[in-house]
C-alpha cells in the first residue's frame, strides 16, 4: 500500500515546530519538539501519520508556546458506542466462519459462504437501524449530525458488501447476475421511496402530479407488476386512450426476464428477448404512443434508449442505478466479465463530466472490474475503520479468491488487515477480549501481536487478571503467565496480603517469588512470635514443594502444631530433621535450636542420646561456621543463648544416658 496518502494531524504545525513521533501498539504519539523549523526537512510528520485513518486527540491547551502531544489513533470507529454491537455480533459470525468445515464442496459450500455474507450484512443493517433511531431521538444537533454521518457510512459499507457478495462470493452467472443486481439497486436506492409512498397513499394516484414519476421509477427498477398496476388506474380514467394502455401493458407483461432456475437456456432467453425488442420497436416507429409523451418515453426505455433513460437521471440518483437499468433493457444476459465496459461507460454518461467520481464510485467501479484488491485498498483508505476490510477480506479469503496475493512484509493481506483490526480492539479499554480470537486466526504474526498486546492490559482487579491469565494459559504463553502472576503477587505483597501473594506465585510456579514470600512470613514470625495467615500455611498441600523455603515454612508450622498438641517426640524429631536434612536455612538454625530449649527442659526425656548428639553438632556447626564470628560473640544475648543451649543439651544428655542405661539394664 505504497500510495496511501499522508494524513494531516489537525493542530500540529510542522512548519513552526519540528515534530517527533513514537509508535504505540495501536496508536502513534506525535509530539512537538523544542526545535524550530530549519530549512530542509529531515523528518516529516506526515510519514508518521501515513497509513493511519485515525482521529486526533490533542491534549495540550491552545497556548502557542506550550508543547503539545497528539494521540493519533489507527481506528477511530472503535470508539463509537453504537458500533460495539457491530463488533461483538460480527465477532460471533467471524468465529463461526473460522469453525465451519471446508469439507462441504461446490454448491453447499457456496451457499454456506453466501449465508455468512448475508449475516454480516444483516448486522450492518441492524446497526444502521439503531444509529438511525439514535439520530431521530437525540435533541443535540451535533450528535445528530454524527449519527447521520455514521448511518451514511454504514449504508455505503452495506452497499459495497452486497455488491461484493453478488460478484465474488456468490459469483452469479449471466442471467441470474442481472436479477441480483436489480435486487441490489432496489434495496439501496431509497431516495425515491418517500415519493412512491406519497403517490400510492394519495386519494387518487393517477391525478397526483408525481404519478408518472412513480411509474417511471418502477419501470427503471424493472418492477413491472407494480408499474402495470398503476397504469391500469390511469387507463380506467382515460377510456379514449384505452387501446394505447393495453398495448403498453401487453409489452410490459411479455418482457422476457432471466430465470433463477434452469428452466431456460441463455440462448432461448436471447431469442425471446430479440422478438420482444422488435415488437417494441415496431410500436414506437408506427407512432402508437405519439399522443402521450409519458408512454412514448416508457416505450423508449423498454427499448434501452440511453437518452430516454438518462432523461430520468433524477429518478435514478446514481450511475450504478443507470447501469443496471441499461443492462436490463439492452443486455439482460450480460456476463460478469463484460460488466466493466458497461460500468465505465455508464458512469461517464451519467456524470457527464459535471462532477468527478467520489471515492464510493471508485470502489464500486473497482468491484465491477473484478479488481478485488483495488476494492479493499480503496476501502482501507476511505473508511475510518478496519472492521469492514478485515471481515470482507477474510470472507473473500475463505472463498479462495485471494490466495495469490502476498504482501512484501511477509504475511498475506487477510492477516495484515485482521492484525490491524484486532490491534484497534486492543487499544479499547473494553473490547480487547474480542481481539484475542482474531489474533488466534492469524497464523503468521497473531501470536506475537497477542503477546505484545496482552501485557499492556491493565490488571485492575484479580478477576480481570484471572481472565487475562486464562487467555495466556490456554495458549501456553508461559512468559506472560509468569509476568501477570508476578505483577499480581507484587501488588498483594504491597498490600500486606501475603496469602494472596503466595497463591499467585503458586499459580505461576514461581519458586523464587514463593521463597521471597516465605521469608516475609518467617520474618513476621520472628518479630511477632506468632504466625499470621495460619489458614493458608496449614493448608499448603502439595504446593508446599514449590520452593525449599515454602517447604520449610510449612514444616516449621507443623512443628508448632505438634508442639501445641503436646506431641513432643514427633515435634522433636521434625525439628531435628529440619536442620539435619538442611531444609531450614542456616540463618534460621538459632531460632530452631531455641525452639528445642523447652523440649529439653521437659520433665520427661524427649531427645534420645543420638538426637542430643546431633543437636550438639548443629549448635557447634552454627557457632564455628559462622563467618561473622566476631560479631556473633560480641552479642551478649546470643552468647547467653548459646551457653544456655549447651547447658541444656549437656543436662539432657546426662538424663538420657541414665534413662537409656536403666532401660537397657532392666
Amino acid at each position: 500500500m505504497d500510495t496511501v496518502p499522508s494524513q494531516v494531524v489537525p493542530g500540529a504545525d510542522p512548519s513552526a515546530r519540528q515534530l517527533c513521533f513514537a509508535w504505540g501498539p495501536a496508536e502513534v504519539l506525535v509530539c512537538e519538539t523544542l526545535f524550530g523549523r530549519t530549512g530542509g526537512s529531515r523528518s516529516r510528520a506526515g510519514a508518521a501519520a501515513r497509513a493511519l485513518t485515525g482521529s486526533v486527540a490533542g491534549t495540550g491547551e491552545g497556548a502557542p508556546s506550550s508543547s503539545r502531544v497528539f494521540v493519533v489513533r489507527r481506528d477511530q470507529d472503535i470508539y463509537i458506542q453504537t458500533l460495539r454491537k457491530l463488533f461483538n455480533e460480527s465477532h460471533g459470525i467471524f468465529m463461526g466462519l473460522q469453525r465451519c468445515e471446508e469439507e462441504l464442496a461446490g454448491k453447499s459450500r457456496k451457499a454456506q459462504l453466501v449465508q455468512v455474507s448475508k449475516n454480516y450484512r444483516s448486522v450492518i443493517r441492524a446497526c444502521m437501524e439503531d444509529m438511525h433511531q439514535a439520530a431521530v431521538s437525540t435533541r443535540d444537533p451535533a450528535l445528530q449530525g454524527q449519527y447521520s454521518t455514521q448511518v451514511s457510512i454504514l449504508s455505503a459499507m452495506e452497499l459495497i458488501w452486497n455488491l461484493c457478495e453478488i460478484l465474488f462470493v456468490e459469483a452469479a452467472a449471466a442471467g441470474p447476475l442481472l436479477l441480483r443486481l436489480l435486487d441490489w439497486v432496489r434495496l439501496h436506492v431509497c431516495d425515491v421511496d418517500s415519493m412512491v409512498r406519497e403517490v400510492l397513499s394519495s386519494e387518487s394516484p393517477s391525478k397526483h402530479k408525481l404519478f408518472w414519476n412513480v411509474v417511471d421509477v418502477f419501470v427503471l427498477q424493472g418492477r413491472m407488476d407494480e408499474a402495470r398496476h398503476l397504469l391500469s388506474k390511469e387507463a380506467s380514467a382515460n377510456p379514449t386512450s384505452m387501446n394505447m394502455y393495453k398495448i403498453l401493458d401487453d409489452l410490459m407483461k411479455k418482457m422476457p426476464v432471466p430465470s433463477l432456475g434452469n428452466t431456460q437456456t441463455l440462448t432461448e432467453l436471447e431469442l425471446k428477448w430479440q422478438h420482444w425488442h422488435e415488437e417494441c420497436q415496431r410500436y414506437l416507429q408506427d407512432g402508437t404512443f405519439a399522443s402521450n409523451p409519458h408512454m412514448e418515453s416508457i416505450c423508449k426505455i423498454l427499448l434501452g434508449d440511453e437518452d430516454a433513460i438518462l432523461e430520468k437521471k433524477e429518478l435514478m440518483t446514481t450511475w450504478y442505478h443507470f447501469l443496471v437499468t441499461r443492462l436490463l433493457y439492452s443486455h439482460p444476459t450480460v456476463k460478469p466479465l463484460e460488466l466493466r465496459f458497461y460500468a465505465q461507460s455508464s458512469m461517464d454518461l451519467f456524470l457527464g463530466g459535471e462532477s468527478g467520481p467520489e471515492p464510493l464510485d471508485m470502489i464500486l467501479m473497482a468491484a465491477f472490474e473484478f479488481e478485488m484488491h483495488q476494492v479493499i485498498k480503496e476501502c482501507s483508505i476511505v473508511l475510518s475503520n478496519w472492521w469492514f476490510v478485515a471481515h470482507l477480506t477474510d470472507l473473500l479469503d475463505h472463498c479462495k479468491l485471494l490466495q495469490s496475493h502476498n504482501l512484501y512484509f511477509g504475511s498475506n493481506m487477510r492477516e495484515f488487515l485482521l492484525l490491524e483490526y484486532a490491534s484497534g480492539l486492543f487499544s479499547h479499554h473494553s473490547l480487547w477480549q474480542l481481539g484475542v480470537d482474531y489474533f488466534d486466526h492469524c497464523p503468521e504474526y497473531g501470536r506475537v501481536y497477542l503477546e505484545l498486546h496482552i501485557e499492556r492490559i491493565p490488571l485492575t482487579t484479580e478477576q480481570k487478571a484471572l481472565k487475562v491469565l486464562r487467555i495466556c494459559e490456554q495458549r501456553q504463553m508461559h512468559e506472560q503467565v509468569r509476568s501477570i502472576c508476578k505483577i499480581m503477587a507484587m501488588k498483594a505483597l504491597r498490600n500486606n496480603r501475603l496469602g494472596s501473594a503466595l497463591s499467585w506465585s503458586i499459580r505461576a510456579k514461581d519458586a523464587a517469588f514463593a521463597t521471597l514470600i516465605s521469608d516475609r512470613f518467617l520474618k513476621d514470625y520472628c518479630e511477632r512470635g506468632c504466625f499470621s495467615d495460619l489458614d493458608l500455611i496449614d493448608n499448603l498441600g502439595p504446593s508446599m514443594l514449590l520452593s525449599d523455603r515454602l517447604t520449610f515454612l510449612g514444616k516449621y508450622r507443623e512443628f508448632h502444631r505438634l508442639y501445641g498438641e503436646k506431641r513432643f517426640p514427633e515435634a522433636a524429631r521434625l525439628l531435628l530433621t529440619l536442620m539435619t536434612a538442611h531444609i531450614a536455612p542456616c540463618t534460621f538454625w538459632m531460632t530452631l535450636l531455641t525452639d528445642a530449649l523447652p523440649l529439653l527442659e521437659q520433665k520427661e526425656v524427649i531427645f534420645s542420646a543420638e538426637q542430643t548428639y546431633e543437636l550438639m553438632r548443629c549448635l557447634e556447626d552454627l557457632t564455628a561456621g559462622n563467618p561473622d564470628k566476631q560479631k556473633f560473640q560480641d552479642d551478649d544475648v546470643e552468647t547467653t543463648k548459646v551457653e544456655m543451649l549447651r547447658l541444656a543439651l549437656a543436662r539432657n544428655l546426662a538424663r538420657v544416658i541414665v534413662k537409656e542405661g536403666t532401660v537397657e539394664g532392666s
Partner: protein, 375 residues
C-alpha cells in the same frame, strides 16, 4: 429449546444479571431483571423488562427482546449484585464500595440510596487508593454481608450507617463469594480452595469450620446452598469443576463433577425446583444439571415465587433430593447435563434462574433471556 431465547446486544460487558424477586403470592413469571457491567470507562446498573408479554406468538413463545427501563452510572466494575427486596439492589464495586440502589417504579428511575464508600480496603496506608475490590455480596433483608480481595467480611444493615460487624483479615487469601447458610451463619469460598462457615453470633474472628479441596488447592469462585437442604452446598472452581459438599460430614467434597473447561463464575440451584442446577463459565458455556430424571415418582417442585416447597414434609424431600445430589456416583445415569449455549466463545459471567426463566450475560456484550426453561 434455543428458539425461545431472546438476545440483546447492549454495548457493555455484563458482569451480573439478577431477576427481581417476585412478591410472595405472585403467579406470573418474573418480568424485570437488573444487570451490571464491568471493564467499561463508564459502568452502569440497568433495569430491563424481560420482553413484551403482549407480543406472545401463537405458540406462546415470546418475541420481544429485553428492553431498557432505566440505568444509572456506577463507579468501578460491578463485581456482584443482589436484590435486597422488590425495589432495592445492593451492588459490590471493584473500588471497594457497596451501594444500595433504589428502583423507582412509578417513574422508572434509579437512584443511589446508600453507600458504604470504603467497605473493603487494603491496610497499606502509602498507596493513594486503598480500596480493595468487593467480590461478593449476599442479602437477607435487612442484613447485607460482603466479602473482598482484602479478605475482610462485613455485616451491614440496610438501615444503619456503620457496619454492624467487621472481621478484618478473616481470610489470608482473596474471598471470592459469600452466601447465607442459615440466618446467622454464612459460607465463604476463597482463592486457595477452601469453603468456610462463619457464625456471625460468635465474637471469635475465626471460622467455625473449614472445608477444603484435596490435592491442588484450586481456587473456588462461587458458592450456593440447596434451598431446602441446608447441608447440601455447591461450589465452582477455577478449573471449571463443580463440587458438591455435605457440610454435616467430612472436610472434603462428596462429589466432583466436570463440565466446564475454565473458571466457573456462578452456580445456582433452582430456587423452587432444586433438582436443577445451573452453572456458567469463562469458557462460554452454561450447563443445566438435572437430577430429576432418576426419581420415578417425584413430586413437582416447580412453584412460582419460590418458598412453597418449605411446606412439604421433610421426608419427601429427603428421599428425592438428597439422594440425587449426594449420591456417590452421580455421573452414572443419575444426572442429565445440557449445555444451553453451544457456540458461544466469550465468557458467560453471570446467570440467574427464577420460575421458568433464565437470564444470563456475557463478555460479548449481550444479555439473553430464556422464558421457557423446562419446556
Amino acid at each position: 429449546a434455543m428458539e425461545d431465547v431472546s438476545a440483546k446486544f447492549v454495548s457493555q460487558k455484563i458482569s451480573r444479571t439478577r431477576w427481581r424477586p417476585l412478591p410472595a403470592a405472585a403467579l406470573q413469571p418474573p418480568d424485570l431483571f437488573a444487570t451490571g457491567s464491568w471493564d467499561n470507562e463508564d459502568n452502569r446498573i440497568s433495569i430491563w423488562s424481560a420482553g413484551d408479554l403482549g407480543n406472545a406468538g401463537l405458540n406462546g413463545e415470546y418475541h420481544g427482546e429485553p428492553h431498557l427501563l432505566c440505568d444509572i452510572q456506577h463507579n468501578g466494575d460491578v463485581m456482584d449484585m443482589q436484590f435486597l427486596d422488590q425495589e432495592r439492589i445492593v451492588v459490590a464495586s471493584s473500588t471497594g464500595a457497596v451501594t444500595i440502589f433504589r428502583h423507582h417504579q412509578n417513574n422508572q428511575t434509579l437512584s443511589a440510596n446508600h453507600r458504604w464508600e470504603k467497605a473493603h480496603y487494603h491496610v497499606d496506608q502509602d498507596t493513594s487508593c486503598g480500596g480493595a475490590a468487593c467480590t461478593g455480596v449476599v442479602c437477607n433483608n435487612p442484613e447485607i454481608v460482603t466479602v473482598g480481595e482484602d479478605g475482610r467480611i462485613n455485616l451491614f444493615r440496610a438501615d444503619q450507617k456503620d457496619a454492624v460487624r467487621t472481621i478484618d483479615n478473616a481470610d489470608s487469601s482473596t474471598l471470592h463469594a459469600v452466601t447465607f447458610l442459615r440466618t446467622t451463619e454464612i459460607l465463604t469460598v476463597n482463592s486457595i480452595g477452601q469453603l468456610k462457615i462463619w457464625d456471625l453470633r460468635q465474637q471469635r474472628n475465626e471460622p467455625s469450620q473449614i472445608f477444603s479441596l484435596a490435592g491442588d488447592r484450586v481456587p473456588l469462585h462461587c458458592v450456593d446452598r440447596h434451598p431446602n437442604q441446608q447441608h447440601v452446598v455447591a461450589t465452582g472452581g477455577q478449573d471449571g469443576m463443580l463440587s458438591i459438599w455435605d457440610i454435616r460430614q467430612g472436610t472434603m467434597p462428596v462429589s466432583l463433577l466436570n463440565a466446564h473447561e475454565a473458571e466457573m463464575w456462578e452456580v445456582h440451584f433452582h430456587p423452587s425446583d432444586p433438582d436443577h442446577l445451573f452453572t456458567c463459565s469463562e469458557d462460554g458455556s452454561l450447563w443445566h444439571w438435572d437430577t430429576s430424571t432418576n426419581v420415578s415418582e417425584k413430586p413437582s417442585f416447580l412453584h412460582q415465587g419460590g418458598r412453597s416447597t418449605a411446606y412439604l414434609s421433610h421426608s419427601t424431600i429427603n428421599q428425592s433430593v438428597v439422594s440425587a445430589w449426594l449420591s456417590n456416583d452421580p455421573t452414572k445415569d443419575r444426572m442429565e447435563i445440557t449445555n444451553l449455549i453451544p457456540n458461544q466463545t466469550l465468557s458467560v459471567n453471570s446467570l440467574d434462574v427464577l420460575g421458568p426463566c433464565l437470564v444470563y450475560g456475557t463478555d460479548a456484550e449481550a444479555i439473553y433471556v430464556n422464558r421457557q426453561l423446562f419446556a
